[in-house]
Symmetry: D2
Subunit: 136 residues, 4 copies
């Protein structure tokens, strides 16, 4: 499953050069990940007291985006590792399809009563599996 979120670039997203600031992209990516999780089982994770914590973000900025650009953010769970998962996110200009940024976001599932990153097995794996992007 590849999830799409659209965000329009506004004045307050821009920096000195009239481009979306690099920190702001991380908010755009977070917005898209929440939307992905809502399509999945966000409620179940929250009810169980699980939190998804980000352990690494590797983002490449390829092209600037500016005022009024409509951005399309494609998000999919790329793979599950023993104790982490990797989400791939691509930010494109909707009109031209040109790639603005792409990121690999590594996360772990944690629980306040258990130490460290939990294994990606059992119910956690079951709930996340439908988010895996099969089409790529």
């Amino acid at each position: 499953m590849i999830h799409c979120t659209e965000i329009k670039v506004r004045g307050y997203h821009l920096d000195l050069y009239g481009h979306v600031n690099n920190a702001r992209y991380l908010e755009f990516l977070e917005e898209a990940r929440w939307a992905l999780l809502e399509d999945g089982d966000l409620d179940w994770f929250m009810q169980q007291g699980y939190a998804l914590v980000i352990s690494r973000i590797d983002i490449r900025y390829l092209r600037p985006a500016g005022m009024g650009d409509m951005l399309k953010i494609e998000t999919n769970l790329e793979r599950l590792l023993p104790r982490s998962g990797v989400i791939r996110q691509r930010v494109l200009k909707k009109e031209t399809g040109k790639l603005v940024a792409e990121a690999e976001v590594t996360f772990a599932v944690v629980h306040p009563d258990k130490p460290g990153a939990l294994p990606m097995t059992d119910q956690i794996a079951e709930r996340l599996a439908p988010l895996l992007g099969l089409a790529r």
Copy 2:
């Protein structure tokens, strides 16, 4: 007591027009209020479980601030009302003393176990009183 905080304007503070964005000023003001409270009795409030919640911010933007400007934020508790307090904050360019923005920030003290805004009496008043700006 008038508390001073200094913040240097950076690229990520700016917007489309190369000026500090109006939402960003509220972060500058919050930064300065935390610093004011640290000079006061922030630890005591946190230990007691009290939270200071903002109920109103009235901010006037008088002059733009841009890249590299060193801003000085003057913050003082102006008055205590029966169930609220008013903090006055002024943002100036340090070099010229020119006023960039000024704000009146109204807050209340709340506690998770008690409904609504608490009265500004007893220990709460005692702890806040030293922050009142006598010199104005």
Copy 3:
């Protein structure tokens, strides 16, 4: 005309207390104003080199909003004064209709080649007039 914008509260909007932070509301309000202007004549203003600058924001925070809340932001141009305009914005919880925050935002129209705030007459007034909220 009353313009509506919807924003869903996400993890990165929240602060220490699990509530939308007061600076973040100003971004929500700006988002809604851009959307209002797009329904109006934003392109014309930008082509002419006009900028709408905010001179004052008076915002009251009435109720906290938290994770997952769908917020509805109502925005309308309330009145035009000789050299400024006042936009009224209300943030409500979509589900319950309860008021979360309300703000009065004062703006002026400026142009790089002309000093100070421009009069709200002629073409500027004509372009803004359709945004006036007649129904209130």
Copy 4:
């Protein structure tokens, strides 16, 4: 040269879990890079019309930081490549020296009159060289 910037964690830096949000760290890192450049030749770059644009940020989040933590950000230019440079940044808790996050930030130098990333030679290299962290 390793440059140090200190930032105290405030309420508005935190998210749902009471930890500094991952997008906010990128602002902390940007703050520290501006400070590094000021120690170097920022003015010269700006006068020449050069901009330093970020092409990649690879950040690992190792430990959460929370309310009141004093963070120390170490920043140094690690190496110059033919048409890019790599800055290494480490965020530590000042009190304990524990590592909170570390990032590798890749940048290029661009100029509005010249296409693409400029070569890291001649004056550009000369001005950046003193920022190289020799001690590591």
